[in-house]
Amino acid sequence: MNEVDAMRALTADLWEQLRPLVRARLSQLDEWVARGQGLAGRAEAVRTAHNLSGSLGSYGRHDGSRVARELERALLEDASPALVVDLVAALHRAVDA
């Protein structure tokens, strides 16, 4: 196994170990959505989306990274609650894939 492949394997291994952590973050998003996407918790939601857009892509979950970036933009642009709900659901699917 060459160096690059070893790193890829390491990344994949880590992803499996850290997937529960990602899911926990998604759960926090779910809770905020369930509370009606109010002002309280919005900044935290933006931060979570921002971090996930960076980290998911780094773990090779590029779809998840793209969805997280869209979610971050939607939250920053104060998009419709329905769109936010759709994007959070899409994020779940990408993480579970």
Partner: protein, 813 residues
């Protein structure tokens, strides 16, 4: 991050093994991934969740590399890198930013603040690890901390300064002294302006090769950069003479090699200054005397050598200049007090200055007449030894030898060496350098330039006016107008110049000709001069000195005397000596050089007669100098006796300076034949001794008369005395006759000038020059080197408008 393990990749045995990384990120997902990757590369990893915590970790131990997020709660990444770069301990620690910020302006800000890399999230782990590893393999070091200059591979200025300090300490502890030299190229600013940074880089590469070659020849020598485009060479354990020799060789090497920038071959002028390590250790910092406590010896040495290089840059004569304490900028002079005591002191200084030369004349008479008489009388009275007869015979023999040499010169001058045949071309590009101190030449410089541009030369002729002066003059507008009209003319103001040598050296930077004629600004060469000069230079000679003819002989009796004297010098002595000795000399003006040789030889402004000095250096190195009495240029002579005194005093002192420097070198030169060495001995040795010998008849005859009980008891008709007297008395008329026969037609027509010259020279002028020669030696020995640029009277036309300039003193004919 307990509970998370990286198992898929084993740590790699890499150069990073054992190195420490600090990973700063508030996102555990990222932090885990980066840590795992770096650990897999063999590194030890420490983590922090924001900038503040990172600072705590840094205070505990400085890592080898920092990988940090930008957006973090508390202290962000930009604040962290600013703190990192402000602290000396962490200034050089590589830092890689890892961020989701996609705006290019963020990357620019990060890099400007001191980040060494900027990686955007999402990132590829293998690539990130490779980037971090690269920072450890090739650490991005702040410029001032670099060991090697990245462009040239030479030691950085700071590294060289450290080495220098170490060598200075070693020398101070009992080792041999060494030196630090700074080298630059005088044309660097022009080169930058024309070719930009790329040109400077090409120059640096080529200079590096020369420096490294120079360093390779000296044990322990190290080459480096000195900042501001300059280079440095540390020469430990090297004596001052050796340093001077090595650096001169380096300068000449740079000149010989030429440099190529953007495909163009350029002639650059190396400028070298140096300081001995012991001097640097004990001196003040030249730019900031208060900085001594802070600046180390190395930095000080670089600054002092740089100061010396600034001094060398004024002369452009390739001579390395050693730093001396008087190069430190002096404190501003206190304003004149104007008090009675100060006034009296000033008056006393004036009087002392005025009386200095009469006192020196008296001293020469004491040394030349009274002292020998006392010696003869003392030996006779106290030791019973009579050296009178022997001294008499010696003096007679010396006078006869001198007279015979002068007659030989005259006879040989009747058939001078002729130039090689005119091949009819092709004629190469030629250049003229006219050196001028503009305030003195303003009235006629335009006329002079036009005369040069009217030369009948079949090839291309470039005319460079290299001039200096304190202020801009209206005539400079006229000169620029000529340059705009005729691209062959190049007016070149030489800022900071104080001598003809500097002007000529600076002019060489723009010269494009294969050969170059050097002229003072009052010269009008014959229209065919350049064509004739090329016959010599194209035929294998290196330099040819022409015949300078006085064109203002009707201005005064002094000018008339000089006019005939110049014929005696340029039409008789020079060509006669060239045949007798086997070499000629360059007289400072109306001389033509192969350009590459003049670039290498340069004019040394620290010599009073830089022209003679340059001639002798050429001859000693095997060069060939011809004297051509038919290569004419007309110039102005001084018109008053005082002006002539000053001019000849400088020439005489310059000749003495040159004699002291070159007589031994000439004998040591493997290039010279025995005849040339004897010629050098006559030119440099006998010429200096003769003015004293010419006095010796007085003490000898006085002693003989005293010993005989009075002059009436001497036998005044001894044959040797009579014959000697007749022979030596024939020299003056003989010289005058030769001069008349070989003079240019316009002077030869002036029969009265020659008769008056015979009278004046026999009864006054020859002894006048002997007095000057003796006094010049006293001045040189006492270190009196006033450079008097003597204003010569400006003839005034009937309208009252000055019609002729007051030229500077010309060469040392």
């Amino acid at each position: 991050m307990g509970g998370v393990t990286a198992t898929a990749a084993e740590p790699v045995a890499a150069p990073t093994a054992g190195r420490t990384a600090l990973v700063v990120d508030d996102d555990e997902l990222i932090s885990h991934l980066v840590c795992a990757g770096l650990r897999a590369a063999g590194m030890t990893v420490v983590t922090a969740s924001d900038g503040r915590e990172a600072l705590l970790r840094l205070a505990e131990a400085v890592p080898d590399v920092v990988v940090s997020d930008v957006n973090m709660p508390g202290m962000d990444g930009f604040a962290l890198v600013s703190r990192l770069r402000a602290e000396p301990a962490t200034r050089a620690v590589p830092l890689v930013f890892l961020t989701s910020r996609a705006d290019p302006s963020d990357a620019l800000a990060a890099l400007r603040l001191g980040a060494d890399d900027y990686v955007r999230k999402p990132f590829d782990l293998p690539e990130l690890v490779a980037r971090v590893t690269a920072k450890l393999d090739r650490p991005p070091v702040p410029v001032e901390q670099l060991l090697r200059d990245p462009r040239t591979g030479l030691l950085s200025a700071s590294a060289l300064a450290e080495e220098c300090a170490r060598e200075a300490a070693r020398a101070a502890a009992g080792g041999r002294d060494g030196a630090l030299a700074v080298l630059e190229v005088a044309e660097l600013a022009a080169l930058r302006a024309r070719f930009g940074a790329r040109g400077e880089a090409e120059l640096a590469t080529q200079l590096t090769a020369a420096l490294e070659a120079a360093a390779a020849g000296v044990a322990g020598a190290r080459a480096g950069r000195a900042g501001g485009g300059r280079f440095a060479l540390l020469l430990p354990d090297t004596g001052a003479e050796e340093v001077q020799r090595l650096l001169l060789a380096l300068s000449e090497q740079v000149v010989r090699r030429r440099v190529t920038v953007s495909g163009e071959a350029l002639d650059v002028t190396p400028v070298v200054g140096w300081v001995s390590l012991s001097d640097a250790a004990g001196a003040e910092h030249p730019d900031d005397p208060d900085a001594d406590a802070r600046a180390g010896t190395g930095e000080r040495a670089l600054a002092l050598a740089g100061t010396a290089a600034d001094g060398a840059g004024l002369h452009l004569d390739l001579q390395p200049v050693r730093w001396t304490a008087d190069m430190v900028p002096a404190a501003p002079a206190a304003p004149a007090a104007g008090t009675g005591a100060a006034g009296a002191a000033a008056r006393w200084r004036r009087w002392r200055s005025r009386l200095r030369t009469p006192w020196q004349v008296a001293l020469t008479l004491l040394l030349g007449i009274v002292a020998p008489f006392c010696a003869y009388a003392g030996l006779w009275l106290f030791a019973g030894v009579d050296v009178g007869e022997a001294a008499y015979l010696l003096v007679v023999a010396a006078l006869v030898v001198t007279a015979a040499a002068i007659w030989a010169e005259g006879l040989l001058a009747l058939d001078p060496v002729r130039p090689p045949a005119d091949t009819g071309g092709p004629y190469p590009r030629a250049s003229a350098i006219i050196a001028a101190y503009l305030p003195n030449e303003a009235l006629t410089i335009v006329e002079t330039v036009e005369a040069f541009l009217a030369q009948d030369y079949p090839g291309e002729l470039q005319v460079v006016l290299a001039y200096n002066g304190p202020d801009r003059l209206p005539v400079e507008d006229a000169l620029e107008a000529i340059a705009a009209r005729d691209p062959r003319f190049v007016p070149l103001r030489v800022d900071g110049s104080t001598s003809k040598a500097q002007n000529v050296n600076a002019g060489l930077a723009v010269v494009t000709g294969e050969f170059v004629g050097v002229f003072d600004a009052d010269h009008h060469p014959d229209p065919s001069s350049f064509r004739r000069a090329w016959r010599w230079l194209g035929g294998g000679y290196d330099v040819v000195q022409g015949h300078c003819v006085v064109r203002n002989g009707d201005a005064s009796w002094v000018a008339r005397t000089t006019a005939v004297e110049f014929e005696s010098i340029y039409a008789v002595s020079h060509p006669g000596r060239a045949r007798l000795h086997g070499f000629g000399v360059f007289g400072g003006s109306n001389g033509y050089w192969r350009t590459d040789l003049l670039r290498l030889t340069r004019m040394h402004g620290f010599m009073l007669t830089e022209d003679i000095d340059s001639s002798l250096r050429v001859v000693e190195n095997g060069g060939r100098i011809a004297n051509d009495p038919a290569l004419l240029s007309r110039e102005l002579a001084p018109t008053t006796l005082r002006a002539t005194w000053n001019q000849r005093m400088r020439w005489a002192q310059g000749w003495f300076q040159v004699s002291r420097k070159h007589l031994r070198r000439a004998w040591a030169s493997p290039e010279l034949t025995l005849r040339q060495k004897l010629g050098m001995t006559f030119l440099l040795g006998w010429r200096e001794v003769y003015p004293w010998i010419s006095l010796q008849a007085y003490p000898v005859v006085a002693f003989l008369a005293w010993r005989a009980g009075g002059p009436q008891n001497l036998d005044w008709v001894v044959p040797t005395f009579l014959l000697t007297g007749l022979f030596t008395c024939s020299v003056g008329p003989g010289q005058t006759l030769f001069a008349r026969r070989l003079a240019v037609p316009e002077v030869r027509r002036q029969r009265g000038w020659f008769l008056r010259y015979l009278f004046v020279s026999s009864f006054f002028y020859t002894e006048f020059k002997n007095v000057i020669a003796r006094v010049a030696q006293i001045k040189e020995f006492t270190g009196e080197r006033e450079w008097k640029v003597t204003p010569r009277s400006v003839p005034v036309a009937a309208s009252g408008v000055p019609v002729l300039p007051a030229p500077r003193d010309g060469g040392a004919a």
